[in-house]
């Protein structure tokens, strides 16, 4: 089971990183989301895996580590806020540059540089 879980995290990270390195805002956002899924799972896993041991007192004989769960919850929320912000930022980028390239409108830059020379 641990190997399966590890592979899942690896796949999420790899996909996230790959998308993160794309040149357009949208894939980057998707990549960040995937990466944060991977990271959340990883942080969750730092309390080890447990089946049917939800940390609700009285519902089971032994309990999974509740602390990573609380941390992940915080991380999910923060990740959501950040994703929302970066999504909007990419919209703003689109509005300002008429292009969704992560570096703004590259063509425009080149034109203006030519104009300068």
């Amino acid at each position: 089971m641990e190997l399966v879980f590890a592979l899942v995290i690896g796949a999420l990270t790899a996909s996230g990183v790959y998308l993160l390195l794309r040149a357009r805002t949208f894939p980057v956002v998707v990549g960040l989301t995937l990466l944060s899924y991977g990271v959340n799972l990883f942080l969750f896993a730092s309390g080890r895996l447990a089946t049917g041991q939800q940390p609700i007192l009285g519902s089971s004989a032994s309990y999974a580590d509740p602390l990573p769960q609380a941390l992940v919850l915080t991380a999910i929320v923060i990740g959501f806020a950040m994703t929302a912000f970066v999504v909007v930022l990419s919209l703003r980028n689109l509005a300002d540059n008429q292009d969704d390239h992560v570096d703004g409108n590259r063509k425009q830059d080149e034109d203006s540089e030519e104009a300068k020379q």
Binding site: A6, S15, V17, Y37, A64, Q69, T74, L91
Partner: protein
């Protein structure tokens, strides 16, 4: 405390001086003379002590940690320089009164001049090397401002920058050198350093320190090959040039060598470095001076040459040579200052400094001409003038050097050669300017004598030249003796100041130089022709070119590295993380810990396979954005399932809710974006990215595997034990969130709130044109609010509200809580927005989300701060079981109020963010007078 007074008074007056600028030039000149007069008066009483070989100390602690103290020290050498600075400074002030024109910024001029004077005094009077260092750099800075006084002149600005770069840069080397010395000696106090000469010279770091210190001294006193800044500093107003290049700025370098003479001199390194630099400078300066047509240019190069001479003398390392050096410092200061002032007068009265045009001035200004001729003769080394005396000593010393074989001939030959040039350029100065026919095309014609008082400083200095020249022993004898004693550290050799020492070799050399110089001058045209064959190098242009080249290089380098490509930066970031983590991970390899692997159950494995597949698919099919989004959605769902599968119901719920809101968010954004990502990254880049991605993924897999199989204990036992008893809830995760680590949660909802506010602010004035149809060219439907959706969505709202109330209330004991409840409410409201539109929904909600956010934060904060009342720390929760009739026994927990804050903040933030984006849509005609959002 007279010494600090001498140093700091100029600064104080500098602050006040500009105020007197309104009162006219005379007023400000008088005010500016005060520090010098007081300074002289303050130094005078110490003469007794100094004449007896004593030293005056004034000091108090400043920064003991740095070894800096306000330590001032006056000995003969310092006195000599201080007198030069003060007296010539006084004369300059008087001179400048007449030199500067009415419209100029005299306030700034005098203020800077005073600051500069203070800095110079600081250098010579400092008793602590670091303190001296501070003043040293201050002279660089103030001289920078003085040289560029006429900021509208490009040459002035460039000259100033060059001076600053060379002297300031040299200063940094000096700093390093001084720090090493301080390290060796263990103190920066001058007394200690001077006493530790042997320790320093025998230390392994001595060569380094010496080099660095000499670098500082050489740059400051314009030694070859750093001499080039000095002539260009001539762009300054002439009073400044006269001051900087006779008695002060350049002499600071010389002073340094004199000051540290006991500590550093006397070794082979010292000898070779100093004397050869001096020799080169002596020759180069003298040679170039000959060919300058600019009056001040000639003087400047002659200054370079004379500084070389002094340096050479110090470099010789013999005691007599040092005395000669000190003597020449005095002489050079007097005659060069007067020459500069004379040049300034000529410039002032004729409007030009070009010697090819200024001719025959004798007829127009005989008084000035007389003064200038005397001073120039002193420069040439004519007997009965002070320049002759020190030059004789120099010639004598050049013969005393114990160099092996043929080398022994070099110093005297160089000295004579330089003497020839000196005579030649002095002759040129005199003959070209005052005789040699008639003036050519002068801008101001006819020239006449300057105002009476403008000549007084020159007269005083020329008088000094003559006095020293004729009665050396009586005029400067005691001062020279005391200064030499201080330079050499007590032991002064026998020397004899007299006009004549009889017919000896040095006199012969003088004679030869005199004759040779005159011949050279008479044959000058040939030399000019010879010199014209070499292309004149404009050092300013070179410097400027070097700097611009450097700037351009830096620019190009920076642009190459910092190329504005996020992809590059992201690769660097991810790459760095991989590289640093790789080292330990490579050691570890594939590692399965003590706990071993637990058995796989197939449904989970299949779900995991789907997850992995969809994650990879969303990456590799990312160019079709919608498809990628669908895969992402599956991944989100399966992550939630994974949380549920591995005992985290709270997380599963949170993940689900967040995932849906994220999905809506992404869809909102995708509306405005192209639906396809073009293929624009090159194959190699993609290969690189894939490698990075695989490394990152592989690394995470290894870490996770190792981590999951290793046993560990954590602090969580505490939470499980105290959750019910201390936190009043059985849902430990929730209790951690609102109690044990409530502060994290407070931060987290703040993040959410800030994000929403930031989004709102960012989109306030953004205008986006949506595409008219989807990627395949279908125009959008008209039907914005489908009937069925509208009808079903409405009854779902109360239902969802109830569910969220349920989830909220049970959260403390069962999976749920304010955050999830808040998201449920948000999603239910978002559904209304989707189904019925902005206007409709907004009208019915009727509250500002800003206020909801604020309310949420307030609730959370107040819930936390309530404990202050009882003296408990922030966020201490309390709970109790209350029994009411009918209701029965129930739990009241302050954590619930905190959770309510979370609930509200989540609703406000989520909706504010989404609605802000929705408002961009051209269809949403939400422009009601009172803006709800």
């Amino acid at each position: 405390m007279s010494l600090p007074l001498v140093v700091f008074l100029p600064f104080l007056v500098a602050i006040a001086a500009p105020l007197f600028a309104q009162g006219g030039r005379t007023a400000i000149a008088i005010v500016s003379s005060i520090p010098a007069i007081i300074g002289l008066a303050a130094l005078f009483p110490h003469w007794e002590t100094l004449a007896g070989g004593g030293v005056v100390h004034n000091s108090w602690e400043w920064l003991p940690a740095l070894g800096i103290s306000f330590s001032f020290r006056l000995d003969g050498l310092a006195l000599l320089f201080a007198l030069l600075i003060l007296i010539i400074g006084l004369l300059i002030i008087l001179y400048a009164r007449y030199y500067l024109k009415k419209g100029e910024n005299i306030g700034k001029f005098y203020a800077l001049l005073l600051c500069f004077k203070g800095s110079m005094l600081g250098i010579v009077l400092s008793g602590n090397l670091l303190l001296m260092m501070i003043f040293w750099e201050l002279t660089s800075l103030t001289s920078f401002l003085l040289i560029s006084f006429w900021t509208h002149k490009q040459d002035a600005r460039r000259g100033a920058r060059m001076a600053l770069a060379v002297t300031g840069g040299g200063g940094l080397a000096l700093l390093a050198g001084i720090l090493i010395i301080g390290n060796i000696v263990g103190s920066f106090e001058l007394d200690a350093v001077l006493a530790a000469g042997d320790l320093i010279k025998n230390h392994a770091m001595y060569p380094v320190a010496l080099t660095l210190i000499l670098l500082g001294a050489f740059t400051k006193s314009a030694q070859f090959p750093f001499h080039f800044w000095l002539p260009h500093a001539m762009q300054a107003p002439t009073p400044v040039s006269a001051y900087l290049h006779s008695a002060t700025m350049v002499k600071a370098g010389v002073f340094l060598m004199a000051r540290l003479y006991p500590a550093l001199a006397g070794t082979e390194q010292w000898f070779y470095m100093v004397s050869f630099t001096g020799m080169a400078t002596l020759l180069v300066g003298a040679y170039v001076a000959m060919f300058k047509h600019d009056l001040k240019g000639l003087l400047a190069h002659s200054t370079v040459s004379h500084l070389g001479l002094i340096t050479l003398l110090f470099g010789m390392g013999t005691e007599l040579a040092a005395v000669a050096a000190v003597f020449h410092v005095i002489n050079h200061a007097t005659f060069k200052a007067s020459l500069f002032m004379a040049a300034g007068i000529i410039d002032h009265e004729t409007g030009t400094r070009d010697m090819r045009r200024i001719n025959g001035l004798w007829r127009y200004m005989p008084h000035t001409a007389t003064l200038a001729m005397v001073a120039a003769s002193s420069m040439a080394g004519v007997p009965l003038l002070n320049g002759f005396l020190s030059k004789e000593m120099f010639f004598a010393e050049s013969l005393q050097l114990n160099l092996p074989g043929i080398w022994a001939w070099i110093p005297p030959i160089v000295a004579t050669l330089a003497g020839i040039f000196a005579v030649a350029y002095s002759a040129r100065f005199v003959h070209d300017v005052f005789f040699n026919g008639k003036p050519v095309n002068l801008p101001i014609y006819p020239p006449h004598e300057p105002p009476r008082y403008m000549k007084i400083p020159v007269e005083i200095l020329v008088f000094a030249c003559v006095m020293v020249g004729v009665f050396p022993a009586y005029s400067v004898g005691p001062l020279l003796y005391s200064a030499s004693a201080a330079t050499l550290g007590g032991e002064v050799p026998d020397y004899h100041l007299a006009v004549m020492h009889g017919f000896n070799l040095p006199l012969m050399m003088s004679f030869a130089a005199f004759i040779g110089g005159l011949i050279m001058y008479s044959q000058r045209q040939k030399f000019f022709d010879f010199h014209a064959r070499f292309k004149e190098v404009d050092e300013k242009a070179v410097f400027e070119a070097v700097v611009s080249r450097f700037v351009e290089l830096a620019n190009r380098f920076t642009a190459r590295i910092e190329n504005g490509s996020l992809q590059r930066y992201a690769v660097l970031l991810v790459g760095s993380a991989i590289v640093v983590a790789m080292v330990p991970l490579a050691t570890m390899g594939i590692f399965v810990g003590e706990n071993g692997l637990s058995p796989v159950d197939w449904p989970t494995a299949i779900a995991a396979a789907i997850l992995i597949f969809c994650a990879l698919a969303s990456a590799f099919l990312h160019r079709g954005r919608f498809t990628s989004l669908m895969f992402l959605s599956v991944v989100g769902l399966l992550v939630a399932l994974a949380f549920a599968r591995f005992s985290a119901p709270d997380l599963a719920m949170t993940q689900l809710s967040v995932e849906v809101v994220t999905m809506v968010l992404l869809m909102l954004a995708l509306f405005y974006m192209p639906s396809w990502t073009p293929l624009e990254t090159s194959g190699t880049h993609r290969a690189r990215d894939i490698v990075l991605a695989l490394l990152a993924g592989g690394g995470m897999t290894l870490v996770t595997l190792a981590m999951l199989t290793q046993p560990f204990t954590s602090i969580s036992e505490f939470f499980l034990e105290n959750s019910k008893t201390g936190g009043g809830g059985t849902n430990v995760v929730n209790v951690i969130l609102v109690d044990f680590r409530g502060f994290d949660t407070l931060g987290e909802i703040t993040v959410l709130a800030i994000a929403a506010l930031g989004i709102y602010a960012m989109l306030k004035d953004t205008a986006l044109t949506p595409p008219p149809g989807d990627g395949e060219g279908h125009a959008w439907t008209r039907d914005a609010y489908p009937l069925m959706l509208k009808q079903i969505a409405r009854p779902m709202l109360p239902l969802a509200l109830m569910i969220s109330a349920y989830i909220f209330l049970r959260g403390h004991n069962l999976p749920g809580g304010g955050f999830i409840a808040g998201l449920i409410t948000s999603v239910a409201l978002i559904l209304q927005y989707i189904a019925s539109g902005m206007v409709w929904t907004q009208d019915r909600i009727g509250i500002k989300y800003h206020n909801v956010i604020g309310l949420g934060l307030i609730f959370a904060t107040i819930a936390g701060a309530g404990s202050f009342v009882y003296g408990y720390p922030f966020l201490t929760t309390t709970f109790d079981y209350i029994t009411w009739p009918v209701v029965g026994k129930f739990e009241v927990a302050s954590a619930l109020v905190f959770d309510l804050g979370v609930y509200l903040a989540v609703i406000g933030a989520t909706l504010l963010a989404l609605v802000s984006i929705g408002r961009l849509s051209p269809h949403s005609a939400i422009r009601s007078p009172r803006e709800n959002v």
